[in-house]
Structure formats: structure tokens, C-alpha cells
């Protein structure tokens, strides 16, 4: 009887722990499915700023330096920044099938596509946010061009304004988010 109780208790604890871990990792997009593209790419960039590095960054960015103070403010509360970027010499080196594992995750619970810009000149830009109630828990950006593919995943409370300001910092490439917003504003007028 005692053993049964112990086993049930352990199982319950395991289930609770797993649920917590799953919740914490929900907004982290698994990007490993893109790794095979590195063999065809002329340039591959892989940035991993996990929670440990995020905390380290928050600790070392100085309040005295204007730039660093700005970044410190922007990354406050973030749990991770992950970037995978590929550049190709020629067109047609990747297709919808390569992106499907990423899109499948972004079709999951909580993710909403907020921005979708299709431009012949600047490529396609999709921005996804994950909401938990009214709170934003994570952000994903998918930028595709004929010869370029970039996925950015920010885990934690973030919005487009923050992302626009983080462009070019901490390994995040310049995705033209600001210009997208300007375009949106222009369209609204």
C-alpha cells in the first residue's frame, strides 16, 4: 500500500515537473531541422544566447555606457535569443519543405502571425508572437529571400519595438523590422 502511494507521488511529481519544463520551453522554436542547409550555404550563422547567457549579459552590461544600458533594458526578462541564418550563392537552395518543421511549430498553440510582408525586393517577412493571455511570451521571425533564410526566436516577454531596437545587437541580424513598421504606418495613412 505504502509502495503504491510512493509510486503515485513520484509519478505526480514527474508529471508536474514535465509540465513546468514544457511550459518554460514552449516559446523556444527547435531550429535543428535547418542544419542540413549549412552544406549548401555560402554563409551560415548560428547564435545561441540561452537563459544562462542572458543572465550573464544582464549582469555585465554597464549602466554607465549608454549603448549597453539601452540593451540591458531591452533584454530585461528575456530568456533566450536564437538565430539561424543561411546565405546561398544561387536561388532555389531551400524550399517550403525545409521550412515546414518551423512553420508546424508556429502553427502550435499560442502563436499568432502578426506581420506578413511579401516583397519582391526585400523578400518575405513573417513575424509571429506567442501570447499567454495578454502577455507576450515569445517572438519568432521568418525572413526568406531567393538566396537567404533567417529565423530569429526570442524567448520571453518581447515586442516588435524591442526587436527593432535589438537588430544588429547580440548577433541578431538587421531584418528591416523598423522599415516594415514604417511601411505599415504609411499604408494606414
Amino acid at each position: 500500500m505504502k509502495t503504491t502511494f510512493k509510486t503515485s507521488l513520484i509519478s505526480l511529481l514527474l508529471i508536474i515537473t514535465t509540465a513546468f519544463v514544457a511550459k518554460a520551453q514552449d516559446t523556444r522554436i527547435q531550429l535543428g531541422s535547418l542544419d542540413h542547409l549549412a552544406a549548401k550555404a555560402s554563409e551560415t550563422v548560428d547564435v545561441n544566447v540561452d537563459e544562462r547567457l542572458m543572465k550573464l549579459a544582464a549582469r555585465v552590461f554597464s549602466d554607465k555606457d549608454e549603448d549597453q544600458r539601452q540593451i540591458k533594458k531591452l533584454i530585461e526578462g528575456l530568456k533566450g535569443i536564437y538565430v539561424k541564418s543561411f546565405e546561398f550563392e544561387t536561388e532555389g537552395q531551400f524550399g517550403a519543405a525545409d521550412l515546414e518543421p518551423i512553420r508546424a511549430q508556429l502553427r502550435g498553440a499560442g502563436w499568432t502571425r502578426m506581420v506578413n510582408v511579401v516583397s519582391k525586393k526585400e523578400g518575405n517577412l513573417e513575424v509571429y508572437l506567442q501570447f499567454a493571455g495578454e502577455m507576450i511570451n515569445g517572438l519568432a521571425v521568418l525572413h526568406t529571400d531567393d538566396k537567404e533564410l533567417t529565423v530569429v526566436n526570442i524567448v520571453g516577454p518581447v515586442d516588435l519595438d524591442k526587436l527593432a531596437q535589438l537588430e544588429g545587437q547580440m548577433g541578431i541580424p538587421d531584418l528591416g523590422i523598423e522599415s516594415t513598421k514604417s511601411k505599415k504606418k504609411t499604408n494606414e495613412q
Partner: protein
């Protein structure tokens, strides 16, 4: 009673053994990476035995970088450097990358990895928290040369690295190899 004592002894022994392994891994990672490059690409590095003691030299040399205005990145005496010159680095870069990440994953965190021209130029930057200091491991491999640099960074310079991982990583390698040329 005897069983409990035995269990405690085994637990303590296992814990000591694990911490010993982690400590050993922490100390030997630089050498392991150098050895891994040698075995994977069938190349040999050139030893620079006095480099670790060249703290004073580091300060003067680095001050001369960029016309003498640039600040020293590495903490004095903290540089470990292995250079591979004019050798062939032919091999499956994806396999190498995977082995490298696998071997360092216990004690190091990958920050940025860049691969150009299908593996002809590879750069890997790993970080390891060491109390109030941070160890940085920068590995660069191109068609004919490779460099492995391990340095200790102060909080100030770590901030620079986190802000601009690619640029600061390059500066760390440049700084270390400049000292080598002196």
C-alpha cells in the same frame, strides 16, 4: 544501519567522482579541442610554450592594435593559443561541428558559430562562467590555417563580446596572434 551508511558512502563517492570529472573537463578543454582538430583534420599545431606567461607583453602589444588606442581584451596572462599554419583542413565540417559541440557541452555554452563557403571558414565561440570572470574559447578554421584561443575576459570586455559576438571574437583572435608575431 549498515545499509544506510553504505548508501551514503556510495552517494558521496559518486558526487566526488562527478565533480572531479567536471573539474578535469574544465581544465583540459583547450587541449582536447586542439587534439580534436589534429585528429579530425590530420594536422599538427605549433606550440607556443611561453605565451601563457606573456601577460606584460599582452598589454603592450594589444595597446598597439588599431594605432595604440584599442583596449586590451584578454586578462593579462590568461591567453592560451594554438596555431595551425599552412596545412590542409579538408573534412566534413558538419561532422566536426557536431563533435566539437558534443565534447564541450558539459562546461561550455556556444555563443555564435559561423560557417562560410561550405566549411572553408569556420568560427566557433564558446563561453564558460568562472565566477566573476568568464572564459572564452574562440576556434577559427579556414582552408589552410586554424587558431584556437582561450582567454579570460573581465565583465567589461564580456559585455563587448555579447554586444558584438562576431566582431569581438575576431579581435580576440587577432590580439592573441599579434602577440605570437612579436
Amino acid at each position: 544501519m549498515k545499509t544506510i551508511a553504505t548508501k551514503i558512502f556510495i552517494a558521496v563517492f559518486v558526487m566526488c567522482f562527478i565533480s572531479m570529472l567536471v573539474a578535469q573537463a574544465k581544465g583540459d578543454d583547450f587541449n582536447s579541442v586542439v587534439k580534436m582538430i589534429e585528429e579530425f583534420y590530420n594536422v599538427k599545431h605549433e606550440g607556443i610554450p611561453f605565451l601563457a606567461k606573456a601577460g606584460m607583453k599582452v598589454a603592450t602589444t594589444a595597446a598597439r592594435i588599431k594605432g595604440g588606442t584599442a583596449r586590451r581584451l584578454a586578462e593579462a596572462g590568461s591567453i592560451k593559443l594554438a596555431v595551425f599554419e599552412d596545412q590542409k583542413f579538408n573534412g566534413d565540417f558538419a561532422k566536426f561541428r557536431s563533435s566539437l559541440n558534443q565534447s564541450l557541452k558539459v562546461t561550455w555554452t556556444p555563443l555564435i558559430q559561423t560557417i562560410s563557403a561550405a566549411g572553408e571558414e569556420q568560427t566557433y565561440i564558446f563561453l564558460r562562467d568562472n565566477g566573476d570572470k568568464t572564459n572564452v574559447l574562440v576556434i577559427t578554421i579556414d582552408e589552410r590555417d586554424a587558431t584556437v584561443v582561450q582567454v579570460t575576459l573581465s565583465a567589461k570586455n564580456l559585455a563587448l563580446l555579447l554586444k558584438d559576438p562576431e566582431g569581438t571574437g575576431k579581435s580576440i583572435t587577432e590580439e592573441a596572434t599579434l602577440i605570437d608575431q612579436e
